[in-house]
Amino acid sequence: MPASPAEAAPALRLAQVHAGYRDRPVLKGLSLTIAAGEAYALLGPNGAGKSTAARVACGLLRPERGTVSVGGPSPSSSADRGRHVGLAPQDCALFPALTIRENLETIARLGSARSPGGDRACRTSAVEDALRRTDCIARADERVSSLSGGWRRRANLAAALVSRPSLLVLDEPTEGVDARTRTNLVRAVRDTLDTGAGCLIISHDAAFVTQAADRVGVLADGRLIAEGPLGALLAQTFGEHRLLTVRFVNRPPEVLTRQLMASRLESNGDALVWRRVGADVLDLADRLADAIDGGAGEMIIRRPGLDELLDRLLESRS
C-alpha cells in the first residue's frame, strides 16, 4: 500500500526557484509542492514559464537560485533527480522504427543499467505494467511510426511510466487526442497516482485538467498567482456566479447586438459568441430569450470553468 499523501515525502518541491535561459529570467521565485499521489496542473498563458518549471523539475535545467527536490530530500545532483522522474514530452518522444514494446524495453534497459537490482524480470514487469496502465497492450507490437496520434500519445505516456517514477511530468499530454483517448489518459494518470507517484501536468486542455488534476497552480510571468483545488478556486473566484454564453450561426441583427451590449455581454470580436459571468445571468437569459430565439441564436448557462478562471485571474492581475 502506498503511503498516504500526508505521510509520504512530497513527489516534488520547488522552493524559491529562479531559472531562465542566458540573460532571460523565466521563473522568478517559484515555489510549489506536489504531494505523493497528487496530480498538480500548472496553468498559464504562453511564456508564463510552465515548460521551464517542468524542465527544472526534471533536472533538465539548473535553477540559478532556489532548491528542487524530487521524491524526498534533495538529491546530490540534477542527474540523480532525473532517475526519479518520468517525462512525457510534448512531442512523441519515441524511436519511430521500434514498436511500443521495444521502445519501453529500451528505456527500461537504460534505467536498469543504473540500478544494479534491475534484472530482466523486473524490466519485463515494468514494461508490461506500463502497457497495461495505458491500455497499449493491443498495439504493443506495432511500430510507433504506424500508429495514429492518439495511440502515440498513449505510448508516450507509457514510456514515462516504465521507469516507475516518483514524479510524472506530462507536457501537453492530450494535444490532438479525441475524447476517448483523453479519458484513457486520465485513467492511466489516476491509476499511476495510486502507486504513490506525484504528477505535474502542463496542459491547455481544460477537460483533461478538470478530470485529472487534484490541484492547479496558475503561473504568470514566472510567478504563481493562484493555487488550490480547482473547485475551491472556482468557488472562491466566482461564488454562485454563472456563465451565460450566447451563440449565433450568422451575425445577429443590429438591434439585438445593441441589446446584448446593453446587457453587458461581451463579444469575441466577430459578434457570433457573447458571454457574461454574473449572479444575474438566469434573469438576464429570461429577458433575452425571445430576442435571441428570433435571431436564430442559442443560450447556454453553466458554472464557470477552468478557461474562465484563467481569464479572470490573468485579467485581474493585468
Binding site: 533538465l60 532517475r83 512531442d91 519515441l94 519511430p96 522504427a97 521495444e102 534505467g111 543499467a113 543504473r114
Partner: protein, 353 residues
C-alpha cells in the same frame, strides 16, 4: 549504451532504402573512382623527389642544384640509391631519381616510381629531361628511364579501398548522427538522458552504432577490392580492419560533434556535406594526394582521410607495420575521442542534465 545501440540497429535494419544506400553505394563508387582516376591523371604535378647523385659530375651536380631550386623542400638528397628506393616505396617521396655516370656529358637518369604513381614519374622525367638540356647544347642527350619499384600488385586498388571507405564512413556517420537532431527536437534525447543519468551513455550508444556501420561499409569495400589486392597475410587484413575500426571511431566522433553544433536538419545537412566533401578532397579520397599542390597535400594531414589511406597503403601494399601505421592509429583514435567529448560538451551545454 547497449540499449541505445540495439535501438539504432533495429531502426537501421528496418530502413531498407538506407541499408542499401549505406552498403551498396560505397563499393559502386569505389569501382567508379578506381577506374576513372586510376588511368586518367593528367597535368602539372608537384611531386616530391628523392635524389641520389652517383655520377658526381659537373652536369649531374648542376642538375641536382637546378632541381633543388625548382622543387625546394620537395626535393631531398639521399646518400645512396637504396635509400631513394626505400623512400619511394615507403611513400616519403612520390618519385626517386638516381643520377648515374653516363656515356657522354650527361648523367644517365633513372626515375624510380611505385605502382600507381606512373603519372608523377612521367611528369618528373619530362621535367628532368628538359632541365638537362638547358644551356649550350652538348653532343647527345640524357638517357632517362623509368623503373617501377616496390611490391607487385595493383596499388591503385589498395589506395581506393582506403580512400572510398573513409569517405563513405564519414557520409554514413554524418547521416546517422543526424537522427540525434530528431531525438533532441522530439524530447526523446531528454527522456533517455533522464533515465540514463546523463547524455554520456546516449552519445556513446550512438557512437558505437555509427562505428559498426562504418566497419561494415569498409568490409564491403574490402570484399569487392580483394581480387585486385597484392597477396596479403592474415595479420595485414586484421591490421587493416583495425584501421577501419579506428577510422569509423574518428568518423563517429567528428560526426557527433558536427551535428551537436547544429540546431536543425536544415543546418546540419549542408554543414555535414561540406565537412565530408572538404575532408575527402583534402585527404585524398577523391584524387591521389600526389596530384595535389604541395600546400594542399600538407593540409591533408589535418584530415583523418590522409592518415587512414596512408595506413591502408602501408599495411596492404607495402606489407609492413611501421610507425606510419601506429601514428595513423593514434590520430584516428584521438580524433574520435576528441569529437565524442566535444559532442558531449556541446549537447550538455545545450540541455544541461
Amino acid at each position: 549504451m547497449i540499449a541505445v545501440f540495439r535501438a539504432c540497429a533495429l531502426g537501421f535494419l528496418r530502413d531498407r532504402g538506407g541499408l542499401a544506400m549505406t552498403l551498396l553505394l560505397p563499393p559502386l563508387v569505389y569501382l567508379l573512382f578506381a577506374s576513372v582516376f586510376g588511368s586518367s591523371s593528367r597535368g602539372e604535378i608537384e611531386a616530391s623527389l628523392s635524389l641520389y647523385d652517383e655520377a658526381q659530375t659537373p652536369a649531374s651536380r648542376a642538375l641536382e642544384q637546378d632541381l633543388r631550386s625548382r622543387l625546394g623542400r620537395r626535393q631531398t638528397t639521399e646518400p645512396d640509391a637504396a635509400t631513394v628506393e626505400a623512400a619511394v616505396v615507403a611513400g616519403r617521396a612520390d618519385v626517386g631519381a638516381v643520377l648515374r655516370p653516363g656515356a657522354n656529358a650527361f648523367p644517365d637518369i633513372e626515375i624510380l616510381t611505385a605502382a600507381g604513381r606512373e603519372v608523377a614519374a612521367a611528369a618528373v622525367a619530362g621535367q628532368v629531361r628538359r632541365m638537362a638540356v638547358v644551356g649550350p647544347p652538348p653532343p647527345g642527350a640524357p638517357e632517362v628511364r623509368i623503373r617501377t619499384v616496390g611490391p607487385p600488385g595493383d596499388a591503385q586498388s589498395v589506395y581506393y579501398a582506403g580512400a572510398v571507405s573513409i569517405m563513405f564512413v564519414f557520409f554514413a556517420a554524418m547521416h546517422g548522427a543526424m537522427t540525434g537532431l530528431d531525438d533532441r527536437r522530439s524530447g526523446l534525447q531528454a527522456r533517455l538522458s533522464l533515465v540514463a543519468g546523463g547524455l554520456g551513455p546516449i552519445l556513446a550508444g550512438r557512437a558505437a552504432w555509427l562505428t559498426v556501420v562504418g566497419v561494415a561499409q569498409s568490409l564491403t569495400i574490402l570484399a569487392v577490392a580483394a581480387p585486385n589486392l597484392p597477396p596479403t597475410q592474415p595479420w595485414q587484413i586484421a591490421a587493416w580492419m583495425f584501421t577501419a575500426l579506428l577510422a569509423s571511431v574518428a568518423a563517429a566522433g567528428i560526426a557527433l560533434a558536427v551535428i551537436a553544433l547544429c540546431r536543425s536538419r536544415d543546418q546540419a545537412q549542408p554543414l555535414s556535406t561540406f565537412v565530408v566533401l572538404l575532408m575527402a578532397a583534402l585527404g585524398g579520397s577523391m584524387a591521389p594526394r600526389f596530384l595535389m599542390p604541395d600546400l594542399i597535400r600538407q593540409l591533408g594531414w589535418a584530415t583523418p582521410h590522409a592518415w587512414a589511406i596512408e595506413a591502408g597503403q602501408t599495411l596492404l601494399w607495402r606489407g609492413v607495420m611501421d610507425k606510419t601505421v601506429i601514428a595513423a592509429w593514434a590520430v584516428l583514435g584521438a580524433a574520435g575521442i576528441a569529437g565524442g567529448f566535444l559532442a558531449l560538451r556541446i549537447e550538455t551545454r545545450r540541455a544541461p542534465v
